[in-house]
Symmetry: C2
């Protein structure tokens, strides 16, 4: 594969860039047409790579791309990826246009990387699979049937995909779901995912008076929805860092001492971590390490808050409404649906009588675990060992790919997560990028996975 990459590098960049140029932001209705453009471009690329059959499939939301190469092999690999991306905001923090990809040197390390929204998550990572497949097919080394499913709603919680998967169970029949949509521990420490967190996501709206008021005429006598919202949010954590919603921890699996020890064996430098983020200290649930806090413990974060006057200068106003977006990362076996309900009930219970509190749930998803004893995990481990020169560490991912738990349940097959992202890629943030080195190492690892699986 190494030689094939060298020979086809420029074409690879052209193809990937053509995907990155399409602003397929699933969260924003104004990008509806871009979703179709991106899906159609993927179909072209799949066909060019050698898929017999590839097409755009309608769903209740953004379309799904499905492609297939049947060589009559006994085993079938189902490659999952998503072509939608996070909104690029805040735009002013990007050094280059988020939808005009460039290859540039990392300001810190000097290594070359592709800078664009989706460079890694997940256009860059799904692209590796198309090219590894193309290489195997053209070099006569393909030993498995390969199916591709690329969805356009991962970043908004895959609301339409479960129904589509249920309707197309036969089409999707396969032996493993292969996914590259996660990170490795570090560029020196390759790792393989053995579990992901789930997600519950809700928007809270607090309404005070029916109009914005003069803060002089009413201040001190009328409850301010921003102050009330802040009090509600502050009350959602205990002092020990635990989430203060009754029942929140009921279904959290408590790991044994041995499992926790193994988890903490993954290399981690707290000082480096703090320096990378420029924080004086970490903060989280008492009694757990940083690795544990993001892997085996659930958490609650406000992802956005707004209300009142947010422009320049000093406008005095007692606003009518305030909003917050709250995400909760869940661990197996917390149910996203149950946690969503607990949150809604709790907010209504603690809502003060002076304001109205409305809670709107968004799509979430459950966490899941990946069996490390499976043939797929073993093949992936061997492939990565060869490419990186060391065995990948098993690690639990803190993020969520809601749909994978659903697909695991509906199709009855386990996912395998070979992720090649790095912390430095700052996915979901300005200046998202993907190291060329990791892009190519990913392609090589995937090609070898097929060889050993």
């Amino acid at each position: 594969m190494k030689n094939y990459i060298q020979e086809n590098k420029d074409r690879f960049f052209q193809e990937l860039f053509s995907l990155l140029r399409i602003p397929s932001v699933s969260a924003k209705p104004e990008h509806k047409q871009d979703m179709y453009r991106c899906a159609e471009r993927l179909v072209e690329l799949l066909k060019e790579a050698g898929a017999d059959q590839a097409g755009v499939y309608e769903t209740a939301g953004h379309p799904v791309v499905f492609g297939h190469k049947d060589i009559g092999a006994p085993q079938t690999v189902l490659v999952y990826g998503h072509y939608d991306v996070q909104p690029p905001e805040p735009l002013e923090k990007w050094r280059t246009d988020p939808f005009e990809p460039v290859i540039a040197k990392d300001p810190a390390t000097g290594e070359e990387a592709i800078y664009a929204r989706g460079a890694n998550d997940d256009k860059g990572q799904l692209f590796m699979h198309m090219k590894a497949f193309e290489f195997l097919l053209r070099s006569g080394k393909l030993r498995h049937n390969v199916k591709f499913i690329f969805e356009g709603e991962e970043e908004i919680g895959s609301p339409s995909l479960p129904a589509w998967v249920k309707e197309h169970k036969k089409l999707l029949k396969s032996d493993v779901i292969l996914v590259s949509d996660t990170t490795m521990i570090s560029d020196k420490v390759p790792s393989l995912n053995c579990g992901m967190r789930g997600l519950a996501y809700l928007e809270v709206k607090v309404t005070g008076p029916n109009k914005d008021l003069h803060s002089g005429h009413y201040g001190g006598a009328v409850a301010n929805p921003i102050n009330e919202l802040c009090a509600l949010i502050a009350s959602l954590h205990h002092k020990n860092g635990r989430v203060a919603i009754p029942g929140f921890y009921d279904d959290v699996v408590r790991l044994g001492k041995k499992d926790r020890e193994m988890l903490n064996r993954a290399p981690f430098d707290l000082q480096e971590y703090k320096e990378f983020l420029d924080i004086a200290d970490v903060k989280g649930e008492k009694g757990y390490t940083t690795i544990e806090r993001t892997a085996i413990r659930p958490c609650l974060d406000v992802c956005g808050i707004w209300g009142g006057y947010t422009g320049t200068g000093a406008k005095t106003v007692l606003p009518s409404v305030a909003y917050a977006k709250v995400s909760m990362r869940l661990v197996p076996w917390q149910s996203s649906e149950k946690i969503t309900k607990l949150f809604q009930e709790h907010l209504q219970r603690i809502a003060p009588p002076y304001v109205k509190v409305e809670v709107t749930p968004f799509e979430g998803g459950d966490g899941f675990l990946i069996p490390m004893s499976s043939p797929a995990y073993k093949a992936a481990s061997r492939a990565m060992s060869e490419v990186y020169g060391k065995e990948p560490v098993p690690a639990r991912g803190g993020g969520s790919i809601a749909i994978l738990a659903d697909m695991q349940r509906i199709l009855g097959i386990d996912p395998l997560l070979m992720g090649f992202g790095l912390e430095r890629d700052t996915i979901h943030s300005p200046n998202e990028s993907y190291l060329l080195r990791q892009l190519f190492a990913g392609m090589e690892s995937i090609a070898l996975f097929y060889q050993y699986y």
Copy 2:
């Protein structure tokens, strides 16, 4: 004056509308030129009304308009007003263009009013003074020298005016500062202001990690600046509604039983108040009535908050920064400067080690009292009694006109606040308006004030 209004009504509207059409938003740098346009239009109107001398004066910020009519009388009235307005946002809540004034019926009462940003605050109210002056001059009834000072920075705390006033003490020499920039208790209960609250205004910035993070990879391990900001804000009030900043109440005058009784004699219907605002209950400092809470007690309100993702949909992010704008209304003899310092010190003291907290103060101002025994207060009371058919109730205003305490101190003259706004005018909010009835009653009251002073 009544007949004069009837004969000149259409011209009055044309003149006032020409002011309202200029978007003189002092808080926004992009309106710098509009401030000059508005100041120059005021100079024209002052000259047309009969001022001998009127001009635009530069300050460190937006310009001041000063005009003068010297008839050699023993006494001089200094009329203060401001031509700047609050930002019109949120624009989508306006029924008509905020800077294209219209006369329309109040949807609730059917009474005619002018709808525009500044219709009342303060273009509409300062306009009454120019027209009362014009009438007195043209009808040969003017018995005082009149000076006008209209500033362009009231809504941002008048940062440049104190220095300008200090430099022009001689020019401004007079016997009373006459101001219409406040409200009456209700259209059935005329009132005269006998005090205003002061203001301290600060922006709080909480910085967590040095970049926006993936809330899955970091959530639970890294302090979230929005959650931290909410906790800080929530901690600023005690459960009894008192502000929890040490020293905050040190200089608050505690009124005697009699004074409080008199204050509460002002007509107030709690049920109507709650219905007007569509709230289930009021909220404020324990042990005080709603009237007291907005008149003689200080308070703390968040006027704006923002951070993270605030667009549509469900973006998962652990943001780097969160902001809040905090206003504190102060009572005599709390010092705005001292409270600003207490707030800054308190925030630094309670800032958790996981985040950086920066506090930026904006311009504030002290509260003040108006002596009810003064000849000016008595003349105003008599004038309003005649126009409204009942004696105006003395009332303490909850709002702040920061500059008046400064002018009182620098020039050594007391202000007199004849305000004709009503709660229904929703100043600082969408669909600001000013009843024609109040506009004309204001002109009549002011003309009579000059007669009785």
